[in-house]
Amino acid sequence: MTGRVDPAQTLAYVDDCLDPQARSDFETQLRVDPELRREVAQWESQNRAIRAAFGAPSRSAPDLGGASNENAVRRAGEAARPVDGGARPFGQPRNRRAPPPAIAKSPAAGLGPTARRLVGAVALVAAIVWVGLPALEPRPPAALLEAGASAARALADLPVEFVAGDPAAIAQRLGPRLALAPPLTSGLRLVGARLTAGWQATATLYLYENSRGARVSLMVEPIDEIDATPARRGEVDGLSVAAWTGAGYGFVAAARDGADVAALVAAAGADDEFLADAGAQRR
């Protein structure tokens, strides 16, 4: 124990029994006395260890409405006491959310409910006429497009796992589940393939290079239960991406250059012969 501070006062500080003035004085002393700080830290650590050993809630935990620690509640009550000295019921602080600022009434607020509905309907019709009806045809899932884009972003520039310029050789090495011969197009050279995580299953990432040496990827994911959908295009982190489905596969083409993606879509997505071949291979 230190010789300068009364040990009883140290214990009272650690056990949170000092009044605010005495506490403030003690903390002033604490700032200049490292030995006292060490002693206080030791007793506080012991207190925490005892409470933890017997499953008592920590004193430093936020007060969520429980009154399991009387001292903490008493101090919270002191902090919440108004200047006029009137205590709140049960010594609890009243933590109420401040009322929201008043919102200026819109001109439509003065209308009756029927008139407001009518105005809303007219606005909806005008918006549909202005923008046009949304496409109601089935679309490939956005998650498939995201999966293909992230696979291209992470793996397209890495060395390929299966090196071959021959589509049939790649299909043979990938095995029966993924044995889909990749489409060939005139501007793109097939480099090889990698396995990757697809939207819902393992997928193959076919990698091509264009005339400038930039990589172009085509993710092919076998999904038995999926309907054929036309291409859905998008931009993800600077990559031009197109996703479509057909013949029990999900396809995602991704490249920096949108023309390369269009070429792959033309070679695989719009090519009925390719899809028919793919369907025949699945069967």
């Binding site: 040990p7 009883a8 214990l11 009272a12 056990d15 949170d16 029994c17 030791q42 007793w43 012991q46 207190n47 260890a49 005892i50 409470r51 933890a52 050993a53 017997f54 499953g55 008592a56 004193r59 409405g65 429980g66 009154a67 399991s68 620690n69 009387e70 001292n71 903490a72 049960f90 609890q92």
Partner: protein, 176 residues
């Protein structure tokens, strides 16, 4: 916060305090008995709120803890009277209560030190409230608190040293 919630929290605090304080399994046999005892103590304490409108919840809480302390002191004295007429508390039982070496160290303290320390640290009483619950002068409670803390810290340090020294002092038998 509702009054019921406060009572539930107080009952939880008393239950933890009781589990940490009591060494002898014969005082409270099982969880059902412990719950019944705590319920009874708080019912008795709540009557003070009804009978005396001036008494606040804090006073009732102190009363419930004080009653528990008195009951256990009486139990311990009755069971453990030595030849000289003094009494020795039952050694700590092997009942699973608390966790780790801190719990063992606390339960190894003498009763008069243990009850002061647990009232303040575990139940969150102020020193003055602890003195009221233990029916002792404030200075005595503060003295006991200081002794309890020092002794617990020394015990913990000794057990740590023993644990650290064990690998060097252990004799390993060489098996050929």
């Amino acid at each position: 916060m509702s009054l019921v919630r406060e009572w539930c929290d107080d009952a939880g605090a008393l239950r933890r305090f009781g589990l940490a304080l009591v060494r002898d399994d014969r005082f409270v046999f099982d969880d059902v008995a412990a719950c019944a005892l705590i319920d009874k103590l708080f019912r008795q304490a709540s009557l003070t709120l009804i009978d005396s409108p001036g008494a606040d919840r804090r006073a009732a809480r102190v009363r419930a803890f004080a009653q528990f302390v008195r009951l256990y002191r009486r139990h311990a004295r009755r069971l453990a009277v030595d030849e000289d007429g003094g009494w020795v508390e039952t050694p700590p039982s092997s009942r699973g209560c608390g966790s780790g070496s801190v719990a063992v160290g606390v339960r190894g303290l003498p009763l008069e030190l243990r009850e002061a320390l647990l009232l303040v640290v575990l139940a969150g009483f102020t020193h003055r409230e602890a003195a009221e619950a233990l029916d002792l002068p404030l200075a005595v409670v503060i003295d006991r608190l200081g002794r309890a803390r020092t002794r617990l810290a020394a015990n913990m340090a000794a057990s740590r040293d023993a644990a650290a020294a064990w690998p060097q002092s252990a004799h390993l038998r060489i098996v050929k």
